[in-house]
Symmetry: C2
Subunit: 460 residues, 2 copies
C-alpha cells in the first residue's frame, strides 16, 4: 500500500474510536501542535494530532499507533524548553491538554488527583482556595501543564525548600505503548510496596508511556512569605552569603541569584534601581517566623559584605523585591536573541562556574549573563547575541554547549530542571556512563518494544 | 559433578578473588548471618557468607555467583523486619556490613558519600559534628545500616517533615547481578538527566543489585527541637487534633500517636504517669520558632479537647516526653509475644482503621495495640499474644494479615516503611494490580536475567 494510503487508514482507524473532531489533520492546525518552546531543535511534520479527552482516547490512540508502528509524541501545553514535545516526521502528536479536570482535592489527606492537561496555575489556585499548597513552581507555571511538569520533573524557585515535581507525585495512571493502562504508586504519604515505577515515569519525557492521571501530595498553605534582597560587590561574596544562609538552619523558600550583568539588565528594563555593578541575592521565608527569618538572613548578608540589604516588611514590599527576578526574562529579551541554559553544579563550585562562563563568553564573543536558583546550585546562564546575526547565533550555540561541558567538569549536570529532549540528547551521552545509558535504553525497550514512544528524545 | 563438589568449587572460586577470611562457610558462623529480625519468615542455609570489603569484592562475588547460578542475598546489618535479608537455601549471603567508611562529608555542598555498611547512627553523628543533619531516623537507627535503609527506603519519625531515605539519596554505585558496576544519579541538589535509576534501586530490597556507595543530600543542623505532648479522651479527638496541626502551617518534625492501650503499657512499664485510658499525641518542632510552634500546637490540642497538654520548655523536658515513644517497644514486649505491623492509610481513614483493628483483635481473640507516625498515616499496630501459646500465636498471625487487608480496603498500603521481603510478598499481590506487578517482574528480569538476586523476596 502507498504511504499516503497507509496514512489514510491510520487516520480512519484513529477517528473510528475517538470522539468527533479529536483527530486533526489539516496542516494549518497540526502545525500549532508541532513544537514546544525550545531553540535549535528539529521539528517534524505530524500525520495527525489527536486531542485526547480521556484515558480511553489515549489507550485507543496508542493501540492504533502500535498496530501501524507510528511514532507518538505525547504533549501537554508544549511550553518545554528542550524539544521533548516537538513532532517527529510522520508521528501522531497525542495532546492531553484537554484532559484538564481536577478529579479530587482532599483537605484532610492533603492530596489532589488531576488529569495531566491542567495548568500548574489552575491547580495551584484551586488548592489554595482550599487552604492547601502545591509548591512546584516552574518559571512556566502560568502556561505549563501538570503532565508536562511530571514528564520533565520540573523544578522552580520553591525547590530549595520543597523539592521538585517528583517529590509531590505519589501515584500515576499511565498508558503504555501497547495501549494497556497501569496504575503506579499509592495515595498515602508513605509506602514501599514494590519497585518505584512512579519515579521511573516522572522525568521520562514521554518516552515510556503517557500519563493520564496524577495523584499529588500537597502541603498546608504556608505563612505569608517575607523577602530579603541584598546586593554584593561581586558574585563571590553573594554566593558565600548564600552558602552561609543555607547552612544557618533558616530554611529559605526561595534563594535566587542574579549576577551584575543580570542586575544591570533588570535596572535598564524596569528602573528597579539596584546598585549598578552589584550581584543580587533574593531570599524568602514562608516559615511560622518568616519575619525573624528575614532578619536572620539579612544579618548574614551584611556579615558577608552586602552593600545594601532590603528586608520587606509586608506582602507588597516582598512582591516588589521579587519583581527583579520576574522581570529578568523580558529584561534579557530586550538585549537581543537569548538562549537560556540549565546547568546544576555542586554549590561549592558555583564561583568557578561563573568565572568559567565569563571566559566562555569571551572565547565565543558573546555575552553570558547568569541568574538562577543559587540555593540549589541550579543556574540558568543566558547567552545573549545580536538578533538576526547568524554568525553570532552560531557562536552563541557553541557557548551554550561549552557551558554544559563546564558544568560536567565541575561535577554538575547538563540539566537541573528543563530536561534533555532533543536539545541535550548529545550531551546526555557525555554526562552518563555508557553502562547506565545502556540500562536505561533497555528499560525504555521493555516499556516500548516497538520504539514508538517519543523516539529520538532523551535516550536517542 | 556432585552438589557438594560444586559447592566446593564455588567456595574456592569465591575465595580466590577475595581477601583472606572474607569467605565464611562454618555453619556456626554462617548461621549468624542467616536472618534479619522478621517473624514468620522462612530461613534457609547459605553455602557461604562473603564479608565484602570493597566494590571489587562485591563484583567478584556476583561474577562467580552468576557463573554458578547461585542465589545471592545482599545483607547489611540484618535488622530488617520483613525477612528480605534472610538466607535462602544454597545461597551466598553477601554482607556489606564491613564496608562502613565515610568517604566524604562536604559542608558547603551539604553532601555525604558513604559505603553501605555504615550504621545510620554513625553517619548521623559524624555529620552532626560538622553542623549537618541526616534526617531519616528509622526506629532501628542505632543498629541498622545506611545500605539497608536504602534497600528498604526506610522511614522514621522525622519523615513527617523531612521525607524518607529515598528523598536524601542523590546517587548510587550499584553492582549488578553479572558483576558490572554502574553509577546512577548525581551529586547536585537537582538533576533530570536520564531515567531515574536511583529511585528504582532505592527500596528494591536487594532484588536488582547490590548498593556499594551512596551519595546523600544533607540538611543544616536544625534549631533545638521542642516537644508537645497532649492526652485525649479518645483516639478520634487526638487524630482530629493531628489533622488540624498538619493543616495549620506549623511543620512538625515529629507527629506520633499512641492509643490508650499503648499509653497504658508505657505507664505500666515506666511509671510515666500519663492519664489512664487516654490517647496520646506527641509533636515536635525544630523550626526557627520551635517554642512558638509548640505553643501553636498546644493551643490546637486544647481546642480539640485535650485532657492535658505539656509543652516542653527545654531540651531535657522535650527528651522526657519523647521517652513515652521510645519506651513503647519494651513496654509492649513486657506484655507478651508481639508482632508489629506497618500499614499506612490516608489520614482521613485513620479512625476507621483504628476501630477496625479493635474488631479484628476481638475476632481473633488477641489484643491489638496501636501507635505510629500519625502525621503520615503510617501506623504500627502491634498484635500481642501469650508467649509460648501456639494457638494464640497462630491467631495473632491471622490478625496481622487481616490488619493489612483492612489497610488496603481503606485505600492504604501494606507497608509504609518496613518493606515487603518474605513477610508480605503474598499481600503485595493483593495491593498491586497484576499489570504493574508484571512490569516490575520484567524490570527485575532485565537487571537480573538469571534470577539470582535475592530470589523469593518482594516480587516472588
Amino acid at each position: 500500500m502507498s504511504e499516503m494510503g497507509t496514512a489514510f487508514d491510520l487516520v480512519r482507524e484513529l477517528a473510528d474510536g475517538l470522539p468527533e473532531s479529536a483527530v486533526v489533520t489539516e496542516p494549518a492546525k497540526t502545525e500549532q501542535y508541532s513544537r514546544d518552546q525550545a531553540r535549535f531543535c528539529p521539528v517534524g511534520e505530524p500525520v495527525a494530532v489527536v486531542r485526547a479527552g480521556s484515558t480511553a482516547d489515549v489507550a485507543h490512540t496508542l493501540t492504533v499507533a502500535s498496530r501501524y508502528r507510528v511514532p507518538v509524541v505525547p504533549q501537554g501545553a508544549h511550553t518545554g524548553l528542550s524539544g521533548a514535545a516537538n513532532a517527529v516526521d510522520g508521528c501522531i502528536v497525542l495532546s492531553v491538554r484537554s484532559m484538564d479536570r481536577i478529579l479530587e482535592i482532599n483537605e484532610e489527606d492533603q492530596v489532589a488527583v488531576v488529569e495531566p492537561g491542567i495548568l500548574n496555575v489552575e491547580l495551584s489556585r484551586a488548592v489554595a482556595e482550599r487552604g492547601l499548597f502545591y509548591p512546584p513552581d516552574p518559571g512556566s507555571w502560568e502556561i505549563s501543564s501538570i503532565g508536562g511538569n511530571v514528564a520533565t520533573n520540573a523544578g522552580g524557585m520553591c525547590c530549595v525548600k520543597y523539592g521538585v515535581t517528583g517529590d509531590f507525585v505519589r501515584g500515576l495512571e499511565v498508558v503504555l505503548a501497547d495501549g494497556t493502562v497501569i496504575d503506579t504508586g499509592r495515595r498515602t504519604a508513605k509506602g514501599v510496596a514494590g519497585l518505584d515505577l512512579t519515579s521511573l515515569i516522572v522525568g521520562s519525557e514521554g518516552t515510556l508511556g503517557v500519563v493520564t492521571k496524577v495523584t499529588l501530595g500537597l502541603k498546608p498553605a504556608p505563612a505569608p512569605s517575607r523577602t530579603m534582597a541584598a546586593t554584593f560587590p561581586d558574585a563571590r561574596a553573594g554566593l558565600a552569603a548564600v552558602t552561609a544562609i543555607m547552612a544557618s538552619g533558616v530554611s529559605p523558600s526561595l534563594m535566587e541569584f542574579l549576577d551584575a550583568a543580570a542586575v544591570g539588565a533588570v535596572n535598564a528594563y524596569s528602573k528597579m534601581g539596584f546598585e549598578d555593578g552589584c550581584a543580587l541575592i533574593l531570599a524568602q521565608s514562608d516559615g511560622t517566623d518568616a519575619v525573624g527569618d528575614v532578619v536572620r538572613m539579612g544579618r548574614i548578608a551584611r556579615d558577608f559584605g552586602a552593600v545594601d540589604v532590603a528586608e520587606a516588611a509586608d506582602d507588597e514590599e516582598s512582591a516588589l523585591l521579587l519583581e527583579a527576578r520576574r522581570k529578568l526574562l523580558p529584561a534579557l529579551e530586550a538585549l537581543g536573541g537569548i538562549f537560556t541554559d540549565d546547568v546544576a553544579v555542586p554549590r561549592s563550585r558555583m564561583v568557578e562556574f561563573l568565572d568559567g562562563m565569563v571566559a566562555i563568553g569571551e572565547q565565543h564573543d558573546v555575552q553570558v549573563i547568569c541568574a538562577g536558583h543559587a540555593g540549589d546550585g541550579n543556574v540558568h546562564p543566558t547567552v545573549v547575541f545580536e538578533r538576526g546575526d547568524d554568525a553570532a547565533e552560531a557562536r552563541a550555540r557553541l557557548a551554550f554547549s561549552d557551558i554544559m561541558r563546564l558544568g560536567l567538569r565541575l561535577g554538575g549536570t547538563i540539566t537541573g530542571e528543563h530536561g534533555v529532549g532533543l536539545l541535550k540528547a548529545a550531551e546526555l551521552r557525555e554526562e552518563l556512563p555508557e553502562r547506565s545509558l545502556e540500562l536505561q535504553r533497555r528499560i525504555k525497550q521493555l516499556f516500548d518494544p516497538l520504539g514508538i514512544m517519543n523516539p529520538g528524545k532523551m535516550l536517542s
